[in-house]
Symmetry: C2
Subunit: 632 residues, 2 copies
């Protein structure tokens, strides 16, 4: 039971070097055995951003694929794949976040030397946040404003491939200031960093030139690029990253629930405990199934793209990726915190592994698109589709079934929802449950749509949007929860022929997921949107509560199998509470005793002396003749 190095209480340098060690191991494995597994996720199932070498294979490579000429690709891609360079992607600036048009960094063409001068003209133009940039990158894609001529003409935002460190001693090249952002809530094994450029000279071919070139004489040549197609391709790459998040957060939730289930086996008889853990298990599976379905749809998009390039699927998949990312990160983050709390005090200690999982998953709420922004992207799509539908403009095929049924909501006629008067037993039926979510989603979308239409008659569209934002977000969330349930049901239907033995437990889990979304397990304060219109009656809500009770009883024997099924290794969980052998207290105490500060104190070296007679030590304050006193 050796204490994992990461729990030794290392300083910033030690934590970074431990991250580098793990990154080197995974990259060597990829290079030696010619696979790409760790280009997406680390060995602990975190998104590859968590590794100081991870973004080389994601953002850095994708940028060159998208914007590099065939020659540039031919030169750089093998260097990337062989880990012969380590690249970052530097776009965000400290003063204006991800707002691309705000970018201040300039790349000014110098005709005399055939170079660009890369420069950060202000403090706010400092590049910030790129993973790996602080301490680990040899190169970076730098997004900057291209300027040519005297007086300089602004040709907009372009990407430049820039060497930022020497390959002789790894010091930053002259003209580049690089630094680490210090400790963060998580991802401390990598070095998110900043870069400030002071008139750095870079060769003309640093410009990624697939779509725009600067010639030796300073002419700017816009390629014959189909701008729509480029934009779609750019979107599709961003979607790839965004689409990884549901997968990663489902694993984060699954890891936490596995740890908590193994720790709390003994106290699962308490209703609140097994209510919580089974609801979380059902959420982790629901996110995983949804992310698998997303991958299939993304794959189909890729097929289209490699064909005629401009896919009609893109808007729907973009909306889906935004909503799934926002929803799954919200659910997973709350779920990991819930699992942590279920371990009481032990869940607060680093050794449990839970604080690190929680902090990492928290980042997913804001990166790759802040969730409020993403909800609005989904909302915009849904409102646009509904408007098209009402005005007879063709809608996306993916929205057909959903929108066709929405007519009766638009007509505002009283009608009987499919589940109205459903009896107790029927409230477990997969289709009935789905119809409850569908009803809610349609109703909330029409409500938001009407409010927006009413407001936009009096206000500027942006103001109207602002005013109706909350109902729009609600409509988006309800839509995603409906889709997730639909995808889960499809998955069960597929399983029922492929693996019928899994059907009973997955069906119960499906019902539990649906019912505990209607009646939230944390409190009964979260279900207004299901009940406020009165279509679900109060007695049906009570029946649902009793169905949940029975499902919990039925599923309780499966808790350990359902978590073992994720098949996490002890090394990937890195938890004193959650190892497969269940030796919780023995491992917890064994690891605790190995923490270096404890052995250091035991050996009476510098630590003890700092504690006792160092400048703030205890000696100066405590009374030394108390030994006798203890015996009064």
């Amino acid at each position: 039971m050796k204490l994992p190095r990461i729990y030794e209480g290392l300083d910033r340098e030690g934590i970074y070097l431990e991250g580098l060690r793990r990154a080197r191991a995974t990259v060597n494995d990829m290079v030696d055995h010619n696979h790409r597994h760790f280009a997406i996720m680390t060995e602990r199932y975190q998104i590859a951003n968590a590794s100081p070498l991870g973004l080389n294979f994601l953002m850095f490579r994708k940028a060159i694929e998208l914007q590099g000429t065939p020659e540039q690709q031919k030169y750089w891609l093998p260097l990337i794949d062989g880990a012969k360079v380590n690249g970052a992607y530097a776009q965000t600036e400290v003063g204006h976040g991800t707002f691309v048009r705000g970018i201040e960094t300039t790349a000014t063409f110098n005709h005399d030397t055939d170079e660009f001068i890369l420069h950060s003209p202000s403090l706010t133009s400092t590049k910030i946040w790129p993973g790996g940039l602080g301490l680990s990158c040899s190169h970076a894609i730098v997004v900057a404003r291209l300027k040519i001529g005297k007086p300089p003409v602004d040709h907009g935002i372009h990407m430049f491939l820039v060497q930022v460190r020497s390959m002789e001693d790894f010091r930053p090249v002259d003209g580049v200031e690089l630094g680490d952002q210090g400790m963060k809530m998580s991802y401390n094994g990598t070095c998110n960093g900043y870069a400030k450029f002071d008139n750095l000279r870079i060769p003309r071919n640093s410009l990624l030139s697939a779509h725009a070139q600067v010639t030796k004489d300073g002419s700017f040549i816009q390629g014959k690029i189909d701008k729509t197609r480029l934009l779609k391709k750019t979107y599709s790459i961003m979607l790839h990253h965004r689409g990884l998040i549901p997968r990663c957060v489902s694993f984060a939730l699954a890891q936490s629930v596995t740890i908590t289930a193994r720790y709390s086996v003994a106290i699962l008889e308490f209703k609140s405990q097994h209510y919580r853990i089974l609801a979380l298990i059902s959420q982790a599976y629901a996110i995983l199934f949804a992310s698998k379905r997303f991958d299939i749809q993304y794959e189909a998009l890729q097929q289209d793209e490699s064909g005629d390039g401009a896919s009609a699927r893109l808007p729907f998949i973009h909306a889906l990726a935004s909503g799934l990312k926002a929803w799954s990160s919200t659910v997973a983050c709350a779920g990991v915190e819930e699992a942590r709390q279920m371990c009481g005090g032990h869940g607060y200690v680093a050794l449990s592994g839970l604080p690190e999982i929680l902090s990492a998953v928290s980042a997913s709420l804001t990166f790759e698109g802040e969730n409020y922004v993403l909800w609005q992207q989904l909302g915009k799509y849904l409102l646009g589709q509904l408007q098209a539908f009402t005005t007879g403009i063709p809608i996306a095929p993916e929205m057909g079934g959903f929108l066709t049924g929405i007519e009766q909501y638009l007509r505002d006629e009283k009608f009987d929802a499919e589940f109205k008067d459903a009896r107790r037993d029927e409230l477990l039926d997969a289709s009935k449950l789905l119809s409850i979510f569908l009803h809610r989603s349609r109703r909330l979308l029409v409500t938001a749509y009407r409010q927006f239409e009413r407001n936009v008659q009096q206000l500027h569209p942006a103001q109207a949007w602002n005013r109706v934002m909350m109902p729009i977000i609600s409509a988006g969330r309800a839509f995603i929860e409906y889709l997730v349930l639909q995808y889960y049901k499809d998955y069960i239907d597929a399983i029922s022929t492929a693996e019928p033995s899994l059907l009973p437990v997955l069906t119960r889990l499906y019902s539990l997921f649906a019912l505990t979304t209607v009646i939230n397990p944390n409190s009964q304060f979260t279900s207004a949107s299901f009940t406020e219109d009165g279509t679900l009656s109060l007695s049906q809500i009570h029946d649902m509560g009793e169905q949940i009770d029975e499902l919990l009883t039925d599923l309780l024997p499966d808790v350990i199998s359902l978590t073992d099924a994720w098949d996490f290794t002890d090394a990937s969980l890195c938890s004193a509470l959650g190892c497969r052998d269940g030796n919780v207290y023995e491992r917890l105490m064994s690891w605790t005793r190995q923490i270096p500060i404890n052995s250091a104190v035991k050996e009476s070296n510098g630590v003890l002396s700092s504690m006792w007679d160092g400048p703030y030590g205890m000696e100066g304050i405590l009374k030394r003749d108390i030994e006798k006193g203890a015996r009064l």
Copy 2:
């Protein structure tokens, strides 16, 4: 703009010593100037547990006050107040948390030497969690099972005052193993620790003997103690600690909101941003006012206690403390996270100060009583009171108004709630809003009561309780939210004569707090309990949304005054984003550049060489002849 030491990326030892430095400064200040301010909170408004010297003045002292003889008190209390000793309170054991009856540690009387033998008979009996115990305490109260005679007779759980470290060199005394639990989510400036006893000999007068003594000949003499009175006194001390939490978490929320408001001044025009920040501000004030009211009631309890001792107020105050603690920690924790997210990526970096506030406030969900347990304590009280009321047994005076009005809910007659058909304007009226919360609270309590009564006819009471737990928790939460609103209203009424100029803004904030509790600002998924019975109509809910809009517009100019009013110093916020001068980016970059790993790399010392040619360094993987390549 000097980087605060805590952001240097220190290791476990460095972080602890920084905590000790701060603790020494605050304790010296108390001793030198004869005050008790930092006995409750640290200089950064964290609960005193966060300091390695903090529990000396709280738990350690209180235990001696409660269980020590006059002689023991006379000897120890001045040593505590003068910080001549530093004590811990060791009760929890690793295998059974705070479950007192599970305690395994034994103190066996040895007649021959006139001593007790303190012993940890198993791994699970290791004492764990006491603040300061790991590295900083000279003494500890150890809760152990008293055994006397041959064969030993078990005399139950008692407190022993034990010296654990030498006052000569501060090493653990022979027979005690002490250690630090390593890194936690927060509170790393202190050293929560463990202690394992190996037949440690302690003198007979180590037993705190106010209520039970062991004589030289080994007789056990139970004092003429009124057990009920002792229990009440014990409760009252626990209530004191529990009651500190709402105060501390209101400051944590206020600090976060202050940082976020100062950082996001520029983007407050976005509706979602000012919706969120003003809702959080209203919550921080609501918690603060409620905690002030709790203090007044606790003070009255103390008056009673110093009189005849057994106060009739205790059960209500106990229920109130449990509910307020559970509610305020839940709200503050969600609010701090929300504020952190509003700062985007910057809120993820330690320098923002927000990760530390978040991690610290997260602890309050589980310590001093896990919230699920506390909600049930409140629920038990409420159900008991309602049962008393229905069966004609006298109820607590504090519950009079609430229960008298509950009759019509019990009669199950249709009746018109006070706010039924309230028009738009009336939905801002303080009394009307309060009546909405009162209605919900009464309705949910009666629902939970009926469900319990129905279930208890068929099931064992514990099973019935288990089955109805969720409705009971909902009823508790609704009751607390009603009380908090009531206390807020009382506060406004008092202000209206004392400081009439504050009335408009505090009244708006009151309405905003109430309305955004009905219509939750994060989503519209949280208000089922207000709407599910249909008494509030859908059109009233819409009206509330519009009232919120107007309140936000009215309150927007006050955002900075409302946060400045808490009067936090820059030093206590310790945030690059939230200083009073508003120089966000300048400070952020200045602090970032001062992080030691950055200057270390610049000076090309050991760090750079670890990064480059250390065992996992980059040299072994990157291609060194690439300098030319960069120019392709």
